[in-house]
């Protein structure tokens, strides 16, 4: 595995700052009444997506979930299309049909972002099968949360993915809570064991990484990617992380023990990477520059036209 270049590390730092600022902006425009429905924010989880996506090739497919803004931005989604989608505008990445939950750009290999917990896991397995059957140097990268590890689709997909050596890499972003419930209250595991240990039941490789450390996540995903394209099967990676916000917009996260959030913020992924690459002094400058980009993109997005029912009708069926 080749170590990330200084340029790559610097771009990851910028991406993580961008994700943070964009998510804060989503909350801001939500409070201004510009976002219909709800939003599921990812502040605190930036390293898992940026590190993982940094290990992917341009042709790789990405599947994420309703908490998927960091994946979209890490994959390079246009900022205005991102905000416009969340605002339900025709100029959005999905023409305003997907909303906050489903912000994808198929030209970036983003093929889905379902709001149904775990639904993307079999789909990613299928995409990985396409790569395997065609003998392509390509994988499907599948992100989901700790809560998805208890639904049938997770187990069914892992079984078939391993059985058929699908070229897929699974990444659990374990943010400690499945909606409002600590994952250990809903997930039967040996005492202290990580969720990724479940891979062993399927004879699948697994890894547990510090999800606050983009470099660690990158290394793990790069190894898993190589294993998958070599025909050695999928890997279940658990990136241990934390979401600073509640489950959705209306959740203040009051069920979290006092001090837990602050303890995690001590290990903020942006700070960890900045320190690692000696760029702590540059963070403010990057933040200032990206804040302008974020603000301008959101302003332009808010001017976007609303989609029509005729447009919606046209999106249901392919010709």
């Amino acid at each position: 595995m080749t170590a990330p270049t200084p340029e790559a590390l610097r771009s990851w730092l910028e991406q993580m700052i961008l994700v943070r600022l964009a998510e804060d902006k989503v909350m801001e425009i939500y409070m201004q009444g510009l976002v219909p429905g709800t939003v599921h924010l990812c502040q605190g989880q930036e390293a898992a997506s940026v590190g993982a996506i940094g290990a992917l090739g341009a042709d790789d497919w990405v599947l994420c979930t309703y908490r998927g803004h960091h994946h979209a931005l890490a994959r390079g989604m246009d900022l205005e299309a991102f905000f416009a989608e969340i605002m339900g505008r025709d100029s959005g990445a999905c023409g305003g049909m997907g909303g906050s939950s489903y912000v994808v750009d198929a030209s970036l290999g983003m093929i889905g972002s379902p709001a149904i917990i775990g639904a993307g896991i079999p789909v990613a397995t299928g995409a990985g099968m396409t790569a395997r059957l065609r003998g392509e140097d390509r994988i499907a990268m599948c992100f989901f949360g700790d809560g998805a590890c208890n639904i049938g689709a997770f187990h069914e997909a892992l079984n078939m993915a391993q059985l058929w050596r699908s070229q897929v890499v699974f990444c659990i972003e374990n943010n400690q809570y499945g909606e409002y419930t600590p994952f250990r209250d809903s997930t039967a595991l040996p005492p202290g064991a990580p969720i990724a240990h479940r891979a062993t039941a399927y004879g699948m490789a697994h890894a547990v990484v510090d999800g606050q450390d983009a470099v660690a996540v990158h290394e793990s995903v790069a190894q898993a990617r190589a294993r998958a394209v070599a025909g050695d099967g999928p890997t279940l990676i658990e990136a241990q992380t934390y979401r600073y916000r509640g489950h959705s917009r209306t959740d203040p996260g009051a069920y979290r023990p006092a001090g837990e959030l602050d303890a995690w913020k001590e290990r903020d992924p942006i700070g960890i990477l900045a320190e690692r690459i000696g760029a702590t002094g540059a963070v403010d400058e990057i933040r200032e520059r990206l804040q302008r980009e974020v603000d301008e993109a959101a302003d332009r997005a808010a001017e976007g036209p609303w989609p029509t029912l005729e447009q919606a009708r046209g999106y249901v069926f392919a010709d």
Partner: protein
């Protein structure tokens, strides 16, 4: 003359020969040739990379099929019994029909889900449903139901070639029935087009699956009584071919629905509603021959009482002619 199930097998074979992106997934369909022998020889002919024996994990492999379809393949999934479709409800009802829409048309999901259903085998409450109308509220799916060997061939070929997800139902009690089948890449059924299985002037009977066969039997019997019955094999439950039925009813003025399902919430009630709201000129109120509101038992007299018989259909035709 070939059997209905052989027509299914030939449709799969011809579709795989015509398009190398077509592949099959299902339980026991590869090495064993399929629980209903609809895939015999295909594993040997096309190999392990195109015919997959799956674990018993319907929701999982339907989701896998979606992933294959989004990335350029055309999977055909076999659900052994229609009654197992609910185990894959999320994948079929909530994922397959919605990903294209949610992406704003960026992706498409050409997945065919085929399922064998229907009663008559004394299989009891959990392996006897046709299931044909279960997915009609999940807009984004096409739904077909084969009422003849030619329909079994043409509908399946059409579904596989179609760029949207299609659920294709067949009926277990039809599997060994024989009929003429014309094969070929030009023999795909037209999507959304019903088939007039028997022309007639006095009464329109609209049926699906096994009920097409029983309606044709009833029509033969009624011909001796001087009643000339037109039988329409509805073939597609979405899109529902209201026009073909409306044109028939405009001539006959009389309508009978023959369906192996509960009436409320099914394609039969939808059809009556569509005709009524369009002001179809009916000389008598329409009659639906459907399943009584009980559940199916394996006990022979009980199952026979559930599934509309040729005689019940004939009686319904007589009743609208009075």
């Amino acid at each position: 003359m070939i059997t209905y199930r052989e027509a299914i097998r030939l449709a799969l074979d011809d579709a795989m020969a015509a398009d190398e992106t077509v592949l099959l997934l299902g339980e026991d369909i590869a090495k064993a040739g399929g629980p209903f022998k609809t895939t015999v020889g295909l594993y040997e002919k096309y190999g392990a990379e195109r015919v997959f024996d799956t674990p018993i994990a319907e929701n999982g492999f339907c989701g896998i099929a979606l992933g294959m379809a989004l990335t350029g393949l055309r999977p055909v999934v076999e659900i052994m019994f229609s009654d197992f479709l609910p185990t894959a409800f999320d994948a079929i009802a909530m994922e397959l029909p919605r990903w294209r829409f949610m992406s704003g048309g960026q992706t498409s999901a050409p997945v065919t889900v085929r399922a064998s259903g229907g009663g008559g085998g004394r299989f009891g409450a959990q392996t006897s449903s046709t299931g044909e109308s279960w997915f009609l509220q999940f807009y984004g799916l096409m739904v077909a139901a084969a009422g003849s060997p030619q329909g079994a061939y043409g509908l399946l070929r059409a579904a596989i070639a179609h760029n949207n997800p299609v659920v294709v139902f067949d009926h277990k009690a039809m599997h060994l029935r024989k009929g003429p089948v014309v094969r070929g890449d030009d023999r795909l059924a037209e999507v959304g087009k019903a088939v007039v299985a028997r022309p007639g002037a006095d009464v329109t009977v609209v049926a699906s699956l096994l009920m097409v066969h029983r309606s044709l039997e009833a029509a033969e019997a009624l011909a001796d009584e001087g009643i000339d019955v037109e039988v329409i094999d509805i073939s597609w439950l979405r899109p529902l071919d209201v026009d073909t039925v409306a044109a028939s009813v405009a001539r006959t003025g009389r309508l009978v629905i023959a369906e192996e399902q509960y009436h409320d919430g099914g394609w039969g009630s939808a059809l009556i509603s569509r005709l009524a709201t369009a002001g179809a000129p009916l000389a008598a109120p329409p009659v639906a021959v459907s399943m009584p509101e009980v559940l199916i038992s394996h006990s022979p007299p009980l199952e026979d009482a559930m599934i509309p018989s040729t005689e019940r259909i004939a009686d319904a035709v007589r009743s609208v002619c009075r």
